[in-house]
């Protein structure tokens, strides 16, 4: 009941003026700077590993390689695009989920502009990062530096976990795959989407968090948008630097801080949680949602704001876990934008 009430209230607040939206789609972006940086990390030293002889490129002479020495490890990468005249008060940081990179926020797998472009057009300086160990952040030798071993996501696991359909609906042949009838994911682009996947570890949360904390120090004050596994990292980053994060938008976050006492530390940071459809059809996501609602309740009990954008409750059906790529991705971004405006985050 509470969810439905909030959804209706937000719906009214969130519509972007149609004229501004149409104009924003056609005019060139006025960009001050495109750039990037690596933050965090440390130097690790390896010793006692055997030498090897390697030919690095066809035609080049062989080189003797000693794998021992000093290595830069556990840093993370972020790219920023700064507008000449941002209309947002703070830069917007987009944090991806597990097994993925910042590409999550870029062009959708079927070739439409993604949330990076949407929020640039909406007036934000936009920062897109890759978590430690993923994408352009690089990864270190394992198990010597990164503990454990990497995990590679199958195309079939993604189908169920990201709620394109039931897990049983996966088939290696595209014509035989069964999606939810109302799915908004651009289904013919599923294989293309899976090209965005990268290996990840399940044993490196501490190192990922440390890099995110360094990132917040470098790029904030800011507004952070997290997705999926990024939820835990975003909530914890806010606990570690509550003065740096001015709002937290959690798109289908997969985790939240376990300690109720922590909620009070975030009571001055407005929260928005965004849910797609078919969570109740999936035992994993049902449990995840209950845990996030526990955390939202604790933030509200501490006097904070923890709103919910429950798309099915608003009559918007069929969104997958990758809702920033679904066919109505701009509509959802527009509602997130409206929420930010309602919280005074635009000039």
């Amino acid at each position: 009941m509470q969810r439905h009430f909030l959804a209706a209230a937000l719906m009214a607040a969130m519509a972007l003026p149609a004229q501004a939206q149409a104009q924003a789609q056609t005019e060139p972006l006025q960009i001050r700077e495109v750039g990037s940086l690596h933050v965090g990390g440390r130097i690790a030293t390896l010793e006692g590993l055997p030498e090897k002889e390697i030919t690095f490129s066809a035609g080049a002479p062989p080189t003797r390689m000693n794998p021992n020495g000093e290595f830069q490890v556990e840093q993370m990468y972020a790219q920023y695009i700064k507008l000449a005249n941002p209309r947002a008060r703070y830069p917007l940081l987009l944090w991806h989920g597990g097994g993925l990179t910042g590409v999550t926020w870029e062009t959708t797998p079927d070739g439409r502009p993604g949330w990076q472009m949407f929020f640039l057009r909406a007036g934000h300086d936009v920062w897109v990062s890759d978590a430690m160990e993923r994408g352009r952040s690089g990864w270190a030798r394992f198990p010597e530096v990164l503990p454990g071993e990497p995990i590679f996501r199958t195309m079939g696991e993604g189908w169920g976990l990201f709620r394109l359909g039931d897990q049983a609906g996966w088939n290696r042949e595209p014509a035989k795959r069964v999606a939810f009838p109302d799915s908004r994911f651009p289904l013919p682009s599923w294989d293309q989407f899976m090209k965005q996947g990268v290996p990840r570890w399940a044993t490196t949360d501490r190192q990922i968090q440390a890099a995110y904390d360094a990132y917040v120090q470098a790029a904030c004050p800011c507004v952070v948008v997290v997705h999926s596994q990024g939820g835990n990292f975003g909530f914890t980053a806010a606990l570690n630097a509550p003065d740096k994060i001015r709002a937290l938008i959690a798109v289908e976050p997969s985790g939240a801080p376990p300690q109720a006492a922590d909620a009070a530390k975030l009571k001055d940071i407005p929260h928005l949680v965004v849910w797609g459809d078919h969570l109740a059809d999936n035992s994993f996501w049902s449990k995840v949602r209950a845990n996030i609602e526990r955390w939202q309740g604790q933030i509200r009990a501490a006097g904070g704001a923890a709103d919910t954008l429950d798309l099915p409750a608003m009559g918007i059906r069929g969104n997958s876990h990758m809702l920033m790529m679904d066919t109505n991705s701009d509509e959802i971004a527009g509602r997130v934008q409206g929420w930010m405006a309602s919280k005074g985050l635009m000039k």
Copy 2:
């Protein structure tokens, strides 16, 4: 002798008007679109590997993981920034070298705008890619999919190989490192630069090339700038699609096609090779240069153009292998830009 003559002739042709340069540094960029895509790759199937139970995020319920199934592998990532009104005839594709990613071309390790920004300001649509297996391209399980094993570059190996100084000048303590006295690399940012490094294989040239060939089909006709290991991939991409590549700019390429007969296929593609300093001080780079000059000679013998921007011969001393990050990176980019203009590649 021939090198010095060419260098002098190019020097005259390459100065950018100072007024245009100053204006370009201050006005906002007019950007039509920022986007990205993955190209190439294939689906690999793994079978017979044991199941595991994994907790993907702290607080999330454990998931049973079957590592068998279908995987998207061997694709590559590219990001494009398209201008509202490009002044270049073709998009400019920047291909990085070994153990690195497209970050090579972005902000320098000491925080100055890199060649991505320079060439955007000079009027090019700029595409920055990550080779297969590196950065946002992702990497696949080994040795089941990618043969062999990854190589991790030490900070010390980079110091010598990238010609900051002699290999013997490396020391883990920054104050004790000995660089060439005239080095133009921003030396205090060496550790920061090493954060850009990623693992690479020495056994995957075929897969990397296949992805680059797919990239050329998706993004070209174009002008390609290659660096270091990217040289082989760029020359071979041109051989595989000579109608798609309108000029090849090879910054310190580490290899070139071995067959003299291939040179005739590239005779209509203007080539520019750019060399930094201290190649003669390094046995690896001396051999590399001789091989590249052999290839340039073969292109010229076939009636093609293979120019050289030999910086030391022009009195510009101290450039490292990472000359797009050296303190005079913009000056070198300006001369490359001048060469492109002289070849009719600007409108």
